[in-house]
Symmetry: C2
Subunit: 156 residues, 2 copies
Amino acid sequence: MIITRQADYAIRCVLFLASKPVGIATMIGEIADSMGIPKSFLAKILQRLSKAEIVSSIRGVRGGFVLKRDVSDINLLEVIQSIDGPVAINRCAIDKHICGRSCNCSVHPIWIKLRALIQDYLSAVTFDKLVDTKGSIGTQKISLEGEIYGQRLSVR
Amino acid sequence: MIITRQADYAIRCVLFLASKPVGIATMIGEIADSMGIPKSFLAKILQRLSKAEIVSSIRGVRGGFVLKRDVSDINLLEVIQSIDGPVAINRCAIDKHICGRSCNCSVHPIWIKLRALIQDYLSAVTFDKLVDTKGSIGTQKISLEGEIYGQRLSVR
DNA sequence: TGAAAGAGGATATAATTTGTCCTGTTTATG
DNA sequence: CATAAACAGGACAAATTATATCCTCTTTCA
């Protein structure tokens, strides 16, 4: 599982904030209630999004969260990585030293390439491609995105 | 993490059996010792590989395991899936019902496509491309394989 | 018939993920 | 300036998953 539930929450959270008027801070409670995420769990997630400079936090009375950047400048990969750390296929794709056999393991290059493949795909999906498509799965916008890698990659 | 340690063991195990002369059964103990895998854990893994018809088991005295098919007819995806079940990016990519929001979730198609991408990549890697490359990471054979998806996917 | 070898269920251990709680800090506002 | 609202962050608890072990059963060769 590449994407944990935490990362999934984070993505929905960014999506939710993206739907709010610019400049208006939204409180944790409101996001949590709307998206069905445990409030104190979401607080942790927002802390990480904040450290990754994806959202800005406003403390004190009338505080909350806002997106720190334009939706077109936030992509799925960074949101996921801000929560889960490096996206990985397996341990040795991140750190060679974990697997002592890496240096003479013929499978290792496969993991490296697959990882790059996934990262490229996810980093190409910016949030402007995700907002405003409610109820319309498989819009041209998204389909186009999928075609980066050609027809073979269509959904089976 | 797409690939668990179990699946990693399974891959090495297939690789090990591929290096053995055809028709000679290898005992669990020998594989386990050679590859540094706990013996009784490996037994479970081999059971699954056997159910997936990737290896054949021979019971009784002088029993053991042999590959059931030619290495060119075994690919990474099926070995991984025989152990870990369906390769997944997240839960909703496997089962829509897990995530109630799927039907109006704009991210869902992304997971579906990424999953297909990964499956296509892994199923294209057959074991004939993995054997006989010891100590030569990045042979032309493997590099070629990676180029299915073009230059952008080179290792970063 | 006995020993070698895999089959498979039950159970234990460890790691990770998910979630909660509590105290501290910041800040608008009366 | 006091207070209440809101986030920050550490510690901890619960649940889930992954890893590993053990024991008994069945198969099969010699």
